[in-house]
């Protein structure tokens, strides 16, 4: 009677006793061990989600501390050295512990197999290993706080990083381990997409979220190893003084920057491509239309992945590179704006004459387009060599990357979480609270970072503890904005958590989406689909979807709840 689909589980070859494979994955097996030793990609995704949320909280607290210190000139709450540590930790935690793993490891792990009709990722055990590597790497990195804390900035530039406090080694080793976690996730996704697509899920039809995860996987696999060797060389430089980055010993400190940015520039595409992938899904569903130029958007993700490897030198325009290289990298940087433009145009075209639903995820998608466009356009300012000479290392740069990373990816993440929360948890959240949270987030974000664009263009340098009086109003505005933003984020977090405990049961397809993931149960059963589907249409083909597929199921839920 119990179906013979075997559930992947640690330690057991066959697990039929503890868990009906057709049961909800959250309930199929219980207990701490069933989570800690799970091979189920959905559970691993949720564990990752929990961890990156904690990382986001930690990084956010450091951000608030940084902004609090900058509220007034001179010392506000801490001294300069501690301030250096605060912004280093904010950057390192946000980049390595939050934003790089967030979408791929949390939402990607959860939804990629479902969206291609597979039962799991290709290597579930590697998946669990990558989660534990994340935990270990994060612990080692955060150990640096106890050991005296790093104050080099998240970029660890030599020669300072070779000479400064001891904790550089633990931070770099931690990041090294986190890098392997990232590589394994990317590897898993690439192989899964190549070998485990269900019948009918052709490359052309594949959901754009999957294309985004695939492109991200490409970058993770090709770029992260170079970070690994960079960090190893930095540690060797510290331990043995091998001299590779030390001019006294015949080395070159700018070489470190080449090594570092060869990874870190593609890394920013690891950060943004998943956010864009989420937005594609949101816009299709909430315009209730097929995505305009679906294959073009897919190819633009791949284009970003590849072009992103050509432009790392634009972080080094004033570092001491040869003039020829600066010109070359500047020219190449303009190329990389093209795929992003393709996406923005296609999203807008999708919305034209669509049936727009202004649900909270859609609000975040709109915020993404607006804020990412601003961030992206300011990137062109920074890519222009002559202008960058003035803007480099000012708050203009800080505002630029916060607009693309936070105004971009974080908006995408929040939208994606609100969108997929019912599917993942089976609970429905309060849309009103979510929208109120959105308003605070949007306003707070813009107040915080628009002020930074202005003061940056007027010369306020970044990473500075103290500043001239003329910048004080901007810093104050920015700090107040950060508080508004924090309120918005807390409201959103509260909305999601409240849903877990007090939310009503979510229907199978609350948004009426044609996407593949909405064809499964809510929440999905252990094996994702009761039997492997054969897809006969694309995930955005509203004109081909049957009424049954698009049925939200709200009426069933309404009928169940006692109060109307």
């Amino acid at each position: 009677m119990t179906a013979a689909i075997d559930i992947p589980v640690a330690g057991g070859h066959v697990a039929d006793a503890h868990g009906d494979p057709h049961a909800n994955y959250l309930k199929a097996r219980r207990g701490f061990a069933s989570w800690a030793l799970t091979f189920d990609h959905k559970r691993i995704g949720l564990m990752y989600l929990t961890m990156v949320s904690i990382a986001f909280l930690a990084g956010g607290i450091f951000a608030l501390l940084v902004r609090l210190e900058l509220f007034s000139r001179g010392k506000t709450i801490v001294d300069a050295e501690t301030y250096d540590r605060f912004f280093t930790l904010h950057g390192a935690i946000m980049v390595f512990l939050f934003i790089i793993p967030s979408v791929p490891a949390a939402l990607g792990n959860f939804f990629l197999p479902i969206m291609i009709g597979a039962k799991d990722v290709a290597f579930p055990r590697l998946n669990l290993l990558s989660f534990y590597l994340y935990l270990i790497g994060a612990s080692v990195a955060l150990l640096s706080i106890i050991l005296g804390s790093v104050d080099t900035g998240w970029t660890f530039y030599t020669p300072y990083s070779v000479q400064t406090s001891n904790s550089v080694i633990s931070m770099t080793l931690g990041v090294f381990i986190l890098g392997f976690s990232s590589i394994l996730t990317g590897l898993n996704f690439l192989v899964t997409v190549h070998t485990m697509r269900a019948p009918g899920v052709t490359w052309v039809r594949m959901p754009l979220f999957v294309w985004g995860m695939y492109a991200t996987g490409l970058i993770q696999v090709l770029a992260t190893p170079v970070l690994a060797i960079t960090l190893l060389l930095l540690c060797a430089e510290r331990f043995f003084g091998i001299g590779i980055f030390d001019p006294k010993l015949g080395g070159d400190p700018v070489l470190f920057q080449h090594f570092f940015w060869f990874y870190s520039h593609p890394a920013v595409y690891i950060m943004i491509v998943p956010g864009m992938a989420i937005v594609s899904e949101l816009i299709a569903t909430f315009s209730r239309r097929a995505i305009f130029g679906q294959f073009a958007i897919a190819m633009s993700s791949i284009g970003l992945a590849i072009l992103g490897f050509l432009v790392w030198g634009h972080h080094m325009f004033v570092a001491g590179m040869s003039e020829f290289s600066t010109m070359l990298f500047s020219a190449l940087t303009f190329l990389v704006a093209i795929p992003s433009g393709v996406k923005v145009f296609n999203w807008t075209a999708t919305m034209y004459k669509g049936s727009i639903v202004w649900a909270s995820p859609m609000l975040y998608a709109m915020a993404f387009i607006f804020l990412f466009t601003i961030g992206g356009l300011t990137g062109l300012f920074l890519g222009t060599l002559s202008v960058d000479v003035h803007l480099t290392d000012t708050y203009f740069v800080v505002a630029h990357f916060h607009y693309v990373m936070m105004g971009g990816t974080v908006m995408g993440i929040l939208g994606g979480l609100l969108y997929w929360w019912p599917k993942m948890t089976g609970k429905w959240h309060d849309e009103l609270k979510a929208k109120i949270g959105f308003v605070f987030v949007f306003i707070g974000f813009n107040v915080t970072f628009m002020a930074q664009f202005i003061m940056g263009s007027r010369g306020m340098p970044r990473r500075y503890y103290d500043y001239l009086p003329k910048y004080e109003p901007f810093h104050r505005a920015s700090t107040i904005g950060s508080w508004i933003l924090a309120v918005g984020l807390f409201i959103t977090a509260y909305t999601l958590l409240e849903a877990l405990w007090q939310g009503k049961r979510a229907p199978r397809n609350p948004w009426g989406s044609a996407g593949y993931e909405w064809m499964t149960d809510t929440p999905p059963c252990l094996a994702n689909f009761h039997d492997t589907p054969t897809m006969t249409r694309g995930p955005y083909d509203y004109h081909l979807a049957t009424a049954e597929e698009l049925a939200t199921g709200w009426d069933e839920v309404e009928a169940e709840t006692p109060k109307g």
């Binding site: 019948p199 070159d252 040869s322 020829f324």
Partner: protein, 167 residues
């Protein structure tokens, strides 16, 4: 009995060329080389090793490195194609392997290019010059003095003095 899952149009599941074309039973059919063949490849590798050793005694000038890399690449190709079965595997495996070299090459090329074109200011000519050759650095500050302009026109000796690295 078999439903849609296992094989229907499932090019993904059988994407690996090591599953020979005609077999659609889902079983693994990997290419098998003879032991003799492997020994032959080993022999070729040893021969190439001897060649690379002998060749190191000749001086081809700047081409030394390229000759060495060429022979090394020949050896690596033999190992990859035959010992590692790339020749008989899915094309995508080869693509993954080559992609690594491609991106690595990109990294080395642009970094090397940067270090090769680092310039220094030459006070005599008022512009930036490449240390070894004394020529104007591409993209750098143009020479501003009369002597430098003469040099441009080929009427005076090129830059000298500045540019020697401190010993």
């Amino acid at each position: 009995m078999e439903p849609t899952t296992a094989h229907a149009g499932h090019s993904a599941a059988h994407g690996d060329g090591s599953v020979s074309g005609g077999h659609d039973d889902g079983q693994v059919h990997a290419h098998l080389s003879s032991a003799q063949f492997y020994w032959g490849v080993f022999g070729a590798l040893v021969v190439l090793t001897i060649i690379t050793w002998r060749v190191s005694y000749y001086d081809f000038g700047p081409a030394n490195v390229f000759v060495a890399l060429l022979i090394a690449t020949a050896k690596a190709s033999l190992v990859a194609a035959f010992f590692m079965h790339l020749r008989y595997d899915s094309l995508f495996n080869t693509l993954a392997f080559l992609a690594a070299f491609l991106f690595l090459g990109l990294f080395i090329l642009l970094t090397y290019d940067d270090l090769g074109k680092r310039a220094q200011v030459d006070p005599e000519y008022g512009g930036t010059v490449l240390p070894e050759t004394g020529q104007n650095a591409p993209g750098g500050l143009p020479a501003t003095t009369a002597t430098a302009n003469e040099a441009e026109r080929g009427e005076a000796p090129p830059g000298k003095g500045v540019g020697k690295k401190a010993e």
